[in-house]
Subunit: 376 residues, 4 copies
């Protein structure tokens, strides 16, 4: 739809290569970007569309071109219908962006490795990188950002190469900036530290901060600033969708929980008592509920309690952050910035450095937006 | 107890004159200050005892001398026992500070006006001011801060002089700095604007931020920073104690709710749908429960919900803020600062200017702490 | 749709005349009945479709014919689409039952009195009764039940005739059994006691028990059975839709809250502290949230707390109860039963006698089901 | 205290032998019974003191004599002081019943087996039984009930004899009725089925229903009666105290969770999705919080949610049930009843048969109370 009305000059296109391109998050990213570019919806939840970023030189939503890898064969238009039936996407919108969904779907290449794939790591990396390079050439985008939105992997055995790290290696090889929106290893594989540093590419991660940890990033500083003594912070997460099933595996949950704990340790100066559980509740579909229970001591040791209940739609929470990150990292690449971007801690549970309180992370993000807009 | 071990030189004493000196908050302030000065408890919840204020030149807790006005005759030691029975104060502590409670109790003067009191406003102000001046003279304190911690008054009819404003006028007359910890009018009476400006005294207010609004001051900025569209913010407060009974009066609640709404309007740019209720639930004693329900739109208009439940002890939440404010305003007075102090918005629902997000209020407070510590 | 496949013999049809026939509840009733009769959905939430009622001789869902009064002109098919957009009705279902919605819509007559209507009470009653009689004649139904599902009225001034009582009087005049699903006066008008008793018709009410009071009807007995001492029971209701707006009027809410309190008083033996608030939150659409906070004393007076949060869709909660009641009361009419039916307390906040604990109400309902099935 | 004022005739005394006699529950049982017998507190939470049981012939509270086994050496008066500091017991009460606590403490014998104890199972059982017999002889009680209130054990390996089963065997050997208030094996050991049946003694269990499962026993029937389709029921329990630590062991939690699941399966006809977690949160002391999240489908499949939060004091919840059970089972023994008592399912998560809905369990309990009171 927007191709006819807003077609940007060829050189001004930016590619977004989604690893997990047929998942709920990716589907929402593609459908939502098309809807916003066509003016069908206000840009709620897209931080990069707020006034503060007007001068940052970010690629326009209408200039983003999507492709990606996935092991699933379910076409994006069908995935969008499923999400509409669950109340994740508005019905009318899904119908209106069928063309864009089909176009992106045509640019999705088979992911892997699937069982029986005989290729070794180097071959897989080379294959994935070739797909990315072909995407860049074929679409004429000026550059592309690879974003991992695939299901969370178990923490890999030492030395093993999980799929997320193969894709990350392929991104480096193809000259693409990289964003890891999941708690999977991605670029954190020890074998990628050298190549990442040498690549001259910007990258950011990991694990998008979409619910419980977002709350913790404002509540933990509050307790600290008021000199309240947090004794225990317990949490329960109920997730349907694919993520619930992945994270019901304790090994996969371990990666996610480490990120959740970090914000508490950083803000409070110590890790309080309490555990975090992640339960698979298929009946919730793409929705999730997070309950937090905080026991704290006030003046003279008086014991008090705060509880929070967050009920959100996982894809609707994640998709705008993915679009923000793709735009910011693409622009950073354009501006010649490289290496990890601690300025993007606002988006992550387990960021590459920077402050852990949301207010400070937001200030850092605003400053980054200004920096990106500076003349070359 | 601490009088023997830490007795400061006479000139180094600071007076704290509590309006509502036999209420739960005042009792907790006096008992808690004595306990902390004597080293019986860590200084949890006292922001002015954190490292950041070590160089601010604040009066030591052991140098604070308490007095005040109240219309009640129940002696402080007995009030402390009642609070201990409710679990507000630790039993052992109450026993250990009987001496300090009795000493403060002896410095409490009759408040007013009670029904049948024939004095006019000028006479009442003069009488209250005389009490304050006598307190300063009699205790040899270098200066005193008057802090209003009395029950919330109904919003007064235009032109009427509520008791809180009479006390505030008396503070100005007696040369005392002033803090309004309640939503009552206090210095906000139009007839006091001139005298306050002319007094050369520092003052701060109003309405201590101890629960629901504290949370709103971190959560509303979070929604704003994430570009989420808050559609409705509803709240229910259940309070026992005297405040529950006062605020069950819709006229009194109106003052309090105005403060609660302000943080939302300031942070979100618009007042969302939803109401705030304050219910008197005597069975809760000094405890309070605040439930908040926030409906917000995310990406593509997806409707989501956050709920918070805050269960706290009103006096234990308020008392450390009162001590913080008394110390900060006394030091400001000592340093020759005058007028409203927007730097103290961290403590108030309805502050005298300054930012409304807690993180920015905290930064302003830290900067104020540094300023107070600078050499003359 | 089902008219072709399941057409029952003319004498076997049963009429359901909905007062408020274009509201959300009525729309859901008509659409849902058609969907279930056509086998498009399982009969979740329809108690009369459970095995216990198989022998009760209730009219089949496929034999129900709908009509009604409304002052709104919005056609039912359009109202159903609006509800589908809000997630209240499944999209596919709405499309599948367009025919039945249009057929029912054609049987809706103008309600009243609207401003400017010059008819007096007797004329209005006669007009409404004529509409009902014409419906019965025109459709060939064996009998009809009038069900009030209109917006809640304010408690009327003494002696005044609210619209709900005019419709109730018309039902008696037209020889129709009557169900009051709202807290409005309906048959409770003092002027209708005699006519109701003389009519030989069965009737039931009032105020469907769809959320907070349903929970209270099981929780209050639990506290009583365990000899726990409930000190305070506070509640907040957030409603969008029309009902939120109606009940934000304190006069309308008064009627509803009286019903809510009754279950507590009956089960606990005394009315505990605490209030109930009903807030209009348009952003919630047809959804509602009820928060309850119960303070209770246990052994040796230990104070404890239970909180419940009920998040439901008002129309989806109400519609199956309306269908249940229409079937049960129609069958009672067929069996010659007359007068108030305390056996239906299971469905109401403020029933016509009978027990107040849900378990006992359910037992009474099952017994009623058996009685209805007995041979004549 | 009451020994002087209410001393019953020797033959009318009833013994209560607590396994885990120095735990929080046992301490609360002994202190609370003394306080109630002395008229210091109303009998809140004691079902057997309600009017319905006035004619059941239950032993008076003033006729109960306590003893027991424990491996801890901390004396009961000191344990009571600790509980008072946590707000579990009122301070004044603890002081008033020092005599009764000390008297019970003197009747506590060493439990076991501790590490290094060389006795085999038969010797341990014989030793425990000898302690019980000596208690009966020494105090002159007419009979005694053994109640297991010790920490929950891990599910034992097949064929192994956990301590709870050794104590249960000792009870049979000593001719004492038996109540298992915990999820531990107790009489459920396969080797005890024969002896239990042959003993002619009444017994009851297991796992006291004090919070989350109590709620589920009224809420699950509500969903069933309304024909609502429960899709998922998830729960999180935060416990301090000894039980939190015991149940953080997944093997111990397994026993408890089996009981919790049973009420859902029985009431709903199927086990819904969802898990139950039990976390050790030492900061909560003797308090516990249970959060439940229920996803259910209503009419036309509309997805809705109920959440409950139960904040209670474990000992205050358990102690009155222990007193109830001791009295009921002692009276059953007196009346010559033997074997498992399904009439006591009201008290247990995992009862010996009988209905699973609380309302039906309460009816069964009332009928049992009448039966107990019948003339011989």
């Amino acid at each position: 739809m927007f191709l006819h009305t807003h077609t940007p000059p060829a050189g001004a296109l930016t590619g977004v290569w989604l690893v997990g391109a047929r998942g709920s998050v990716a589907t929402t990213v593609v459908a939502g970007c098309a809807a916003l570019a066509a003016g069908l919806h206000p840009s709620t939840a897209l931080v990069t569309e707020t006034a503060a970023f007007a001068g940052s030189g970010l690629p326009a939503l209408s200039s983003l071109v999507f492709g990606g890898h996935d092991t699933s064969l379910a076409p994006l238009p069908k995935r969008a219908e499923e999400l509409a039936a669950q109340g994740v996407l508005p019905h009318r919108l899904t119908a209106a962006v069928q063309g864009e969904l089909a176009a992106a779907d045509a640019r999705i290449r088979p992911g892997g490795p699937l069982p029986g794939d005989g290729r070794d790591h180097a071959e897989l990396i080379a294959g994935f990188a070739a797909d990315m390079e072909e995407f860049v050439r074929g679409t004429g985008v000026a550059r592309a950002v690879v974003v991992n939105v695939a299901s969370t992997e178990p923490v890999p055995a030492e030395g093993a190469w999980p799929a997320s790290s193969l894709y990350a290696a392929a991104a480096l090889k193809a000259g693409c900036a990289y964003v890891n929106f999941t708690p999977s290893a991605g670029l954190h594989h020890p074998g990628l530290a050298g190549p990442a540093a040498a690549s001259g590419l910007p990258y950011a991660g990991r694990d998008g901060k979409t619910g419980q940890t977002l709350l913790r990033a404002v509540l933990a500083p509050m307790f600290h600033q008021r000199a309240l003594d947090v004794r225990a912070w317990s949490g329960s997460n109920l997730l349907g969708g694919g993520d619930g099933a992945s994270l019901a595996d304790p090994a996969a949950a371990a990666a996610k929980n480490a990120g959740k704990e970090r914000v508490l340790a950083d803000s409070l100066g110590a890790v309080p008592q309490g555990e975090v559980h992640i339960d698979d509740v298929p009946a919730l579909g793409d929705w999730k509920t997070a309950w937090d229970h905080v026991v704290f001591d006030g003046f003279l040791g008086t014991r008090m309690v705060l509880q929070t209940i967050w009920q959100g739609c996982d894809s609707a929470l994640a998709a705008p952050l993915v679009l923000d990150l793709a735009r910011l990292v693409a622009r950073a690449h354009e501006r010649g910035l490289s290496g990890p971007r601690p300025e993007l801690g606002f988006y992550f549970k387990d960021p590459d450095g920077g402050p852990s309180a949301l207010a400070e992370q937001y200030a850092a993000l605003l400053a980054f937006g200004e920096k990106l807009g500076g003349t070359r």
